[in-house]
Every structure is written in C-alpha cells, then in structure tokens.
Amino acid sequence: MKQRVGSVSLAVAARNWTQRFAFVLLIALAFGIMLIGKADTVVISRARTVVIDMLAPVMNAASRPIASAKDVASEVQDLIALKDENARLQRENQTLLEWQTVGRELQSQNAALRELLKFTPDPRATYVTASVIADTSSSYVRSLIVLAGAGDGVVKGQAAITGAGLAGRVLEVGQRASRVLLLTDISARVPVIVERTRDQAVLAGNNSENPELRYLPRDVDIKVGDRIVTSGVGGNFPSGLPVGEVVRTADGRIFVQLYAQLDRMEYLRLVNYSLPGILMQDLGVDTSKSQEIASPSRARFAPGVE
C-alpha cells in the first residue's frame, strides 16, 4: 500500500514537473515568436494571411446573421424617424439641386479650361466593393477583415473608403480576404491637408475614435469644423479624399472626427488609383499586379472619378 501511494505521488510530481517545464518552454517560445515577428514581418504577415484566407468563408457565413439583425434594427429606427428624416431630406434636396446647377456650370467651365491648358486628367480609379467579415480590433489594434483578396485585384496599400470618406488602407492581402488597417489604429499615418488654410499635416491614429493632427506649422489657425482631406503626399492616396473634420482642440492637440462611421461599416470600397506609392513596393508585393484586374462575380467594379 505504502509503495503504491509512493508511486502515485511520484507520478503526480512527474506530471507537475512536466507541466511546469512545458509552461516555461511555451513562455520562451512566445518571446521567441515576438522577436521573430519584430525582426521579420514578412513571415508573420504570410502566416496571418493564410489563416485569414482559410477562415474567410466561415467568418463570412457567421457575420451574415449579425448583418441581418442590424438591418432590422436600423429599419425600425428609420421608421420611427421617418417624418423628421423626410423634412430634412427635402431641405437637403433643395440645397443639392442648387448645387447641381452650380456643378454643371463649373463642369462645363472646367472642361473648357482643361481644353485650353491641354490638362492631363488623373488616372481612372477602379474599385472593389468588399463586405466586412471580421472585426479584429482589440486594445492595441484597430483593423478589419474584408472578403476580397489578391484574386479580386486587391493590392497592399489601397485606400479603403466608405461613401462618406476614407476609412483606412489595405495592410495584408490574402487570396480571398484582406486586412484593412483603420485610420484610428495607433500605427496609422496619413498625409492630410486642412482644406480651408491649405496647411499640411499628418493624421495619426491613437486607438481612440478621434485621430490627431500632427506636424502642423506652429502659428496655424485651426477651428472646430475645419474639413480635413488627403494631401496626396507620399503617393499612396490621391489628394482630396474627404477624411473628416476637426472636432476639438485641447492643449495644442487637434482631434479629428472621421466622416467614415467606423462603427457601422458593412461594406468597404478598396480603391486602386494606380499611383506608384511606397507602400505597394515594400514587403516585396508585385506592383504590376495592380493593373491586372479581373472581374469576379461577387465584387463590383466601376470607374470612379475622372
């Protein structure tokens, strides 16, 4: 009996020891992985895209019911607000009709002036519309996964926009799915310009809802409500994409409210402006692919602004 108790306690001790050894080993492994990830981002990036590609169909299926539930909820909200909404839209329609007249005049004037100057138009933009299938945001990261990849013509560095404005850029591209880094992520940096004063700045994400304007000239006069658009510096995004407006200034820091509602994104447009920017070339991505865009069944392509 004594012997048996002894052997049992020995077995327990051996098991505990193995567990402890495994724990230390795995902790070391975690640190090792971190160091590798810090030094060589290509390997990690590939591993992540493979996993995202594999899980894309499952995530897509799972995200459908949520999208439907949200649709129902928003329809109910819409019904409640119908009357006010109608009045607002009528007012807005009136204003827009006036703008339409102005726009037509300017368009013809612009065409005439371009003809005079022999102006070369910007390259035509093409875009892929992709549904958001996963929200991989956490305390330290703000990113999404969309159901469109290299097979649909998505290229690293493309701008991700909603109808309202810029939302982020394509960070990793898999065959079927891609990761989009949002403007609110702490590592997101976009060259922008203050529309009214034409001051250049960098919009820096800070993991909060309101990214910050940095590197502005010292004596700049920024007011709440100033529109911020992309400046096109760096060549990743074209100039003039709407980004957001200044929402508050505190202790010399300027915060921006984005036009894109990052909490309500079901679809994103990944836009290819065919600009040879730095982001497309790093990590060994073949930039020539951006020109060859096939037309898959689930993604829509259309010419953008000329």
């Binding site: 795995l26 902790i27 492994l29 975690a30 971190m34 305390s139 330290y140 909060s208 909490d263």
Partner: protein, 175 residues
C-alpha cells in the same frame, strides 16, 4: 472486471473532453464577428481568458498548458495583437495565475471565484500592456485595455453560468 469501452464510447468521451477548448475557440470567434460597436470592439482578447480561467479551475486536465498556448496563438494569427506572440504570452500568464490559485478558488463561493478572475485578467492585462509598451518603445495608452478588462469582468458571470450548465449536462463524469 472492467469492460473495455467501445469505439462509440471512446469517441463520445473524446468529444466531451474537447468541449472546454472548443468553447474557448468559439468565444474567440464570437469576439471577432463584426459587431460594429466601436466601444465594444476590444472585447475579444479578454474574453478568451474566461474559458481558460473557468476550465483551469473546474476541469484542469481538459484545459492543458498546450491548449492555452494554442488558443493564444490562434488569437495572434487572427491579428488581435499588434505584435505576434503577445496574445500567446497573455494567455499563458493568465493560465499560470489561475493554476497557482486553483486550490483557493475551486469550490469557493461564486463571488470569490469571480474575484479570482478579476485578479487573473488584471495580471494578464498588465503583462500584455507592459510587453506591448516595451516593444513599441513608448508608453501605450492603457485606457482601451482597462475598458477591455471591465468588459471581461462583466461578461464573466454570464459565461460562467453557461459553462456551469454545460458542465452539469455533458461533463459530470468526464475529467
């Protein structure tokens, strides 16, 4: 004489034994679905600590250190952390705290067990914040992590209730 279990019984047992880890994977995925609520989006990383804590207390052999490391690695592969490997480390640290306090918390009243989870996720969250800050070479804003911690704290009773029901139904004699 003990009867040898049939193939069916063995499969049944294997399926039951995989419930804790399966639930943890499920929770990881649920956190990743596009709920599209900005304030709640940092939910995922902390929620996976709930099944790790619960099953380490009540079915420690079904939530092994290897399974915990694998769960963390899945989180890393899905990209919930800025640096690959951070989620794995967080899960392991949380697991270690749970194992060390197992004798205190297992069998204790619910409120004590809950407090144990708060302790465990606080340690894991603090380690995560520290490692992220060290690798980012700057002090990273801890407020989102704090929010994540609070969400985890609120979610724990709900998840624990569901796990307890599953445990009573499917894991009564499975250890």
């Amino acid at each position: 004489m003990a009867l040898r279990p049939t193939v069916g019984q063995q499969l049944d047992l294997a399926a039951r034994r995989s419930i804790p880890v399966g639930l943890a994977v499920l929770i990881l995925f649920i956190g990743l679905l596009p709920w599209n609520v900005t304030t709640l989006s940092p939910v995922n990383a902390n929620l996976v600590l709930i099944p790790i804590y619960y099953w380490t207390l009540y079915r420690p052999r079904l939530m092994s250190v290897w399974a915990v490391a694998a769960l963390g690695l899945i989180g890393d592969l899905l990209g919930v952390t800025p640096l690959f490997g951070v989620e794995m480390l967080t899960a392991l640290v949380g697991y270690r705290v749970a194992v060390s306090q197992r004798k205190v918390f297992a069998g204790a009243p619910f409120i004590i067990v809950w407090a144990g989870f708060l302790l465990m996720s606080a340690v894991a969250g603090a380690v995560q914040w520290l490692v992220v800050s060290i690798f980012a070479e700057s002090i990273v804003d801890p407020r989102p992590a704090l929010l994540m911690y609070l969400i985890g704290a609120v979610c724990y009773p709900l998840c624990a209730y569901a796990f307890a029901a599953i445990q009573r139904k499917s894991l009564v004699r499975v250890f």
